[in-house]
């Protein structure tokens, strides 16, 4: 087999870069999307990106703590999703919209 132009094993740094890219995408969705559910999902994407970096660091440092943190992030994300989606449901019931720009009752 001819030698690949890329290393046989990906360095941990690649994972971190991927994590950064996904995080950036999450931020972009968070900033630009108008549907509140999509915004919420962008936040989940950011959490996932961070989880990836945790796992990657865990590999680099050869310890299991990163996995534990990821686990906690997931648990908290589950709780957050439950409450957040309940809030979204309530908002929709009251305002019949999911557009973040129209949900501005906190204005003044």
């Amino acid at each position: 087999m001819p030698p690949l132009p890329i290393p046989e094993h990906p360095p941990v740094a690649w994972y971190l870069i991927l994590s950064a890219i996904l995080f950036g995408l999450g931020v972009a969705g968070f900033l630009f999307r108008r549907n509140i559910i999509t915004v919420f999902m962008s936040i989940e994407l950011m959490l996932n990106a961070v989880n990836l970096s945790f796992i990657a660091f865990s590999y680099q440092l050869k310890q299991v703590s990163g996995h534990i943190f990821t686990f906690f992030v997931m648990v908290v994300a589950a709780a957050e999703a439950a409450v957040g989606l309940a809030i979204i449901l309530t908002i929709y019931k009251n305002k019949s919209t999911l557009e973040v720009d129209e949900i501005n009752s906190l204005n003044n």
């Binding site: 900033l31 108008r34 204005n107 003044n108």
Partner: protein, 653 residues
């Protein structure tokens, strides 16, 4: 012999178990019984409750309620078992020349403070244990009869057993902190039981009053404990008391005075006695057990327990004697004008507690404890007898509405009469011996104390017999139909009457003699005779006033109107406290704290900050667009700033 051979923990644990069972199982059974009663209508129990359908002391009466036999059995059984265990342990321990200590576990270990959960028995606590469990048993038996028609029967016995638990912890505790736990615990139970008829406002208020007044004392006690810990490095009796003689007098005085403050609260001494008369709002067995025989003597016990400290601090000891004497005189004179049978006995309790403190203060610790014991006998008897009278009259407590009861309730009359003779110091009865020892010691200490004490003893016998004569002699002035109490109430009365007679021959002073420092000998026979005569004189005078020619007291009251009013209004102490403490506190709070500190200073700060933040907020409010997207932008901006700072700081390496 293994270390904790006698299982002292069982003694408090038994009543605690009783309290738990009554609290949990009793409540469940009570609910179940209620549900059943509602289901089956009201046919049952009517015939039984008809003859007894009188409200006892106060409200809370429930003619449908039937006492739960399980609750009665558990409560009496647990206390009786505790008594038996105490007896067995004491027999097994023999002469307690040194304290017997059982250590269970380290309770608090914090820095140099190391407090163990240790229980101990010595000669002093042995006496107290027997009194607490013995009289406790009798009163529990009595209470099953007295409370049989009350709502919350299980609740009452749950509290009462809980009280026994804390009291036994108080007595058995081998360090000040454990004593304090018991001390606070009995205070709590006292509060709960005074407010037992919590639907009545006066009962609730009385409970609160007792609780709050006791806090003043407890504060002193807590400070004393702190001082003890600072200067002795421990709270164990075994470690502190033997070292007391080597400590500076000033410190000992401070500790002694602070302990005295605590004791004043718990044992209802001047100036903190005001809660005890009000505490009579509680059911009568409670008054007998807690507010006459056991809890209120905790202060005496504590001072006697700490006698090495007082030996090293003559000033503090003098203060104990003075406070005791003042209390004795004050309470006795107030007792002259009381018309509520329980109030009379309440003031007499305060007065007798004063005698005990007098005994402690003049160095007759043994006599003081001796009086605790005999007083427990006859005062419990007085209260239980009073309860029996009240029971007989269906809740009537005013002696002006009684009279002529000696033929109607003869057993109650006989036992109460014995108790009255005992408290009056009739020769041969228990009160005679203990009171005489105290007064003789006082005579030895300072003549004037003896004279004041003797006169007080005379007043005591006068007002106690005034109460007895008004209740049992003359014509019946009430409306209810008196009837004798059931046997379950009479048997404790008779037993206590026996103890009141024989209490002087139990050899308690002899038993306690090696424990306390020797008193200087030299009894004045003359002084003893005078005391006896004064006591008898009080009885005769009462007989003249209230049986032979009932018009005299009225005349005296009229001719000494001012003095009478003063006494009748209890020296205006409550009013004085109101105007001296409560009102200034209220006004001070209103003017200084509220208007000045709160409105002026704190509000000023708050308003100032509010104003500043409002102006800042005004600038910032444009940021709060209510638009989620703008918030998102701010969040990201924050993240960017954070990242920049991170980068500037050289990354996360």
């Amino acid at each position: 012999m293994n270390e904790n051979a006698h299982q002292l923990w069982l003694i408090p644990a038994l009543p605690l178990a009783g309290a738990l069972i009554n609290g949990v199982v009793g409540q469940m059974r009570d609910r179940a019984a209620h549900a059943a009663a509602h289901g089956h209508g009201h046919g049952h129990g009517h015939s039984h409750s008809h003859s007894h359908s009188q409200g006892h002391d106060h409200g809370g009466h429930d003619s449908h309620a039937k006492p739960d036999p399980l609750v009665s059995m558990v409560s009496i059984g647990s206390v009786l078992l505790a008594f038996l265990w105490v007896s067995k342990t004491l027999i097994a321990l023999g002469d307690l020349n040194t304290a017997y200590v059982e250590r269970y576990f380290t309770w608090i270990a914090s820095g140099s403070l190391n407090v163990g959960f240790d229980l101990a028995i010595d000669r002093l606590s042995a006496v107290m244990l027997l009194v607490v469990t013995g009289i406790g048993t009798l009163i529990h038996i009595y209470a099953t009869g007295y409370m049989s028609h009350e709502k919350g029967y299980y609740r009452f016995f749950c509290y009462l057993n809980l009280f026994m638990f804390f009291m036994l912890i108080l007595v058995l505790g081998a360090n000040y902190l454990l004593l304090f736990i018991g001390w606070e615990g009995v205070g709590l139970c006292s509060y709960l039981l005074i407010g037992f008829y919590f639907l009545k406002k006066s009962a609730g208020d009385a409970g609160k009053k007792a609780f709050i007044v006791n806090r003043v004392g407890d504060f002193g006690f807590a400070l004393a404990m702190l001082l003890i810990f600072i200067h002795f490095g421990s709270l164990d009796f075994g470690a502190v008391l033997p070292k007391a003689s080597g400590v500076d007098t000033g410190i000992l005085t401070a500790i002694g005075l602070l302990l005295l403050v605590g004791a004043c609260g718990k044992s209802a001494q001047v100036p903190l006695y005001v809660w005890l008369p009000d505490a009579m709002e509680g059911p009568t067995p409670v008054s007998a057990l807690i507010h006459a025989a056991t809890m209120v003597t905790a202060g005496v016990y504590m001072v006697a327990r700490s006698f090495p400290i007082y030996e090293g601090a003559p000033m503090a000891r003098e203060a104990v004697a003075l406070i005791g004497l003042a209390t004795a005189v004050m309470a006795a004179t107030i007792g002259l004008a009381q018309n509520d049978i329980k109030k009379v006995f309440a003031y007499s309790t305060v007065s007798q507690l004063g005698f005990m403190f007098l005994g402690l203060g003049v160095g007759a610790y043994g006599a003081g404890i001796y009086h605790v014991v005999t007083h427990a006998f006859f005062k419990a008897l007085l209260f239980l007898g009073a309860g029996s009278v009240i029971h007989a009259l269906g809740g009537e407590q005013d002696i002006r509405n009684m009279g002529g009861l000696r033929t109607k309730i003869p057993w109650t009359f006989a036992t109460l009469f014995i108790a009255a003779f005992a408290i009056a110091g009739f020769p041969g009865l228990s009160g005679y011996y203990s009171k005489h020892e105290i007064l003789l010691a006082a005579h030895h200490h300072a003549h004037w104390m003896y004279w004041v004490g003797t006169i007080t003893a005379g007043i005591t016998s006068f007002y106690v017999f005034r109460c007895i004569f008004l209740t049992f002699f003359g014509e019946y002035r009430g409306k209810a139909h008196p009837h004798e109490s059931p046997a379950v109430m009479l048997i404790p009365l008779i037993l206590l009457a026996g103890l009141s007679i024989a209490g002087g021959f139990l050899g308690i002073p002899h038993w306690l003699e090696p424990f306390f420092p020797k008193m200087a000998e030299g009894h004045d026979a003359m002084a003893g005779n005078i005391t006896t005569l004064v006591g008898l004189g009080g009885i005769v005078l009462a007989y003249l006033f209230y049986v032979v020619s009932p018009g005299i007291p009225e005349g005296i009251a009229n001719s000494l109107r001012g003095l009478y009013n003063l006494i009748d209004n209890k020296y205006y102490v409550d009013e004085a406290y109101d105007s001296a403490i409560v009102h200034p506190l209220e006004h001070g709070s209103r003017i200084v704290l509220w208007r000045g500190v709160d409105a002026g200073f704190i509000d000023g700060i708050v308003n100032g900050m509010g104003g500043v933040s409002r102006s800042i907020g005004g600038a910032l409010r444009t940021l709060q667009s209510g638009n989620i997207r703008s918030y998102a932008n701010w969040v990201v901006l924050g993240a960017v700033i954070f990242l920049v700072m991170l980068g500037a700081a050289g990354g996360a390496r």
